[in-house]
Amino acid sequence: MKSVLPILTVVVAIVLIWYAAAIPMNAQWARDQAARADTTLTTSELIADTLSQDRPRLPAPHQVVVELWNSTGDMVLAGRGLSNRSLILHAWYTLSATLLGFAIGTAAGILLAVGIVYNRAMDMAVMPWAIASQTIPILAIAPMIIVVLNSVGVQGLVPKAIISAYLSFFPVVVGMVKGLRSPNASQLDLLQTYNASRNNSFWKLRLPSSMPYFFTALKIGIAAALVGAIVGELPTGAVRGLGARMLSGSYYGQTIQIWSALFAAALLAAALVGIVGLIERLMLRRMGMEQ
């Protein structure tokens, strides 16, 4: 319970700042409308208007919440939970690409890390490229990935997943290399006194030692994978997915739709990171490493 109060305090502060910002940002449009209708607004009327516009510059928090509810829970209640306007459906498209990309990225990251740790040539050759890959803006490379894959007939989920994987493999490589190298000299010497094989030293020492690093990397990786999937939805002008919702929202000036998609993405990311954290705790507890 002790941790709830500080968190709540911060949330309340953010909401207050948000409301305070929404009023002046939307006020100009309200005044213009009033002038066009030849009326004047009292202060309270002005404030009420700024918080209830259809296409505000900055939607008020309650508008976003209402839109979120209307496009999720309310639609489920109405039996249209998976209709085209449902955020649940769009979130699912993004989530499926995220999970596939995350799986590919994690697998690739682990394989590269094992290669880097066990092979000198890979140690020197791979890391610089891995770092270089992350210095290229994803927005620049995403359209090219989609175009190239499209030209060889790959469409839909896979290109988005590839972009997800592109972002999520990196933290896994870095974390796993660090983790696999974390055993100290005497732990490695010990295995040598047993005349242990490389296989043994990997499965019995290096891999278990790397677990805390691995899970930290996974948390960063899954958030990056979600960003990748959303970015992957933008250049195709995709009609489905949270990225598509943001894009179409900005085409039509539907700020409330943009913000609700944004919040859906943030909630999704928080849930994913939370799930990884939960698995981490269960796993480390089983390994006796959570004290």
């Binding site: 005349n195 020492l205 278990p208």
Partner: protein, 261 residues
């Protein structure tokens, strides 16, 4: 006994190439260790005592001279799993329970499951840790952890036990207790023990043979065969015989230092 010595070193040299030039960790080391002996290596840091132990274990390789372990090269001996090694830090794997830590060498050496269970029970009894098998290392005190690491080295059938300052990080009282236990364990198992320390009383109390070493270059300055009986209560440390040996060790150490400065 006319059996072959367990360890036989002849003119052993080991030079590390460092950025500051060569470091002579070992120079002209001759030594024989016979079966069932308890041999301590004592000397100031940098005298090569740990390095010598690591050469026996094939964790370092000599640059000159010859050494045999059980009549084989150290590498062959290592492949034959001829020795158990106890490091200064217990080095238990934190993600394994004590029992599973002790099973680690047995798993690697491919012992059958039932045999593993039996041996774990056996060695836990040997080091007085019965009932602690299910605990994780962090739930044990430093002394208990070190005992678990000794149990780990005893779990497989190596006749030679190499110990690198195993009690160096423990306090005096725990150390006395563990020294007593180690002697009892040595008597029961009849293993040959190589023991690195920089405590004179510890070396004299434990050993049948004390090897005094001095640094730069690391070499042996004295080998003392202990005249103490094998049965040694802690009080033996107050006898004139004990003090005489301790005195000779101290003289040996001082001679090594005088040579240096």
């Amino acid at each position: 006994m006319t059996t072959e010595p367990v360890i036989k070193a002849d003119g052993l040299d080991l030079t590390f190439q460092t950025n500051d030039g060569p470091v002579h960790a070992l120079k002209g080391v001759d030594l024989e260790i016979n079966k069932g002996e308890f041999v301590s290596f004592i000397g100031p840091s940098g005298c090569g005592k740990t390095t010598f132990l690591r050469v026996i274990a094939a964790l370092e390789h000599p640059t000159g001279g010859t050494i045999t372990v059980n009549g084989m090269s150290p590498d062959e001996a290592r492949r034959n799993r001829a020795y158990g090694y106890v490091f200064q830090a217990a080095g238990l794997y934190p993600w394994r329970s004590i029992a599973r830590n002790i099973k680690l060498p047995l798993e690697i050496m491919g012992y059958p499951r039932a045999e593993m269970e039996k041996r774990v029970e056996e060695v836990l009894r040997l080091v007085d840790l019965e009932g602690f098998g299910k605990k994780f290392p962090w739930q044990l005190s430093g002394g208990m952890q070190q005992r678990a690491s000794i149990a780990r080295a005893l779990a497989f059938d190596a006749d030679l036990l190499l110990m690198d300052e195993p009690f160096g990080a423990l306090d005096e009282i725990v150390r006395d207790h563990l020294n007593e236990q180690l002697l009892a364990l040595w008597a029961r198992t009849e293993k040959t023990i190589g023991f690195v320390t920089h405590s004179i009383p510890e070396a004299v109390y434990l050993s049948t043979k004390i090897v005094v070493m001095s640094p730069r270059p690391g070499r042996i300055t004295d080998v003392i065969d202990s005249t103490l009986p094998r049965e040694r209560p802690l009080e033996i440390r107050d006898t004139p015989e004990f003090l005489a040996i301790a005195h000779r060790v101290r003289e040996g150490l001082r001679a090594g230092h005088a040579y240096d400065e």
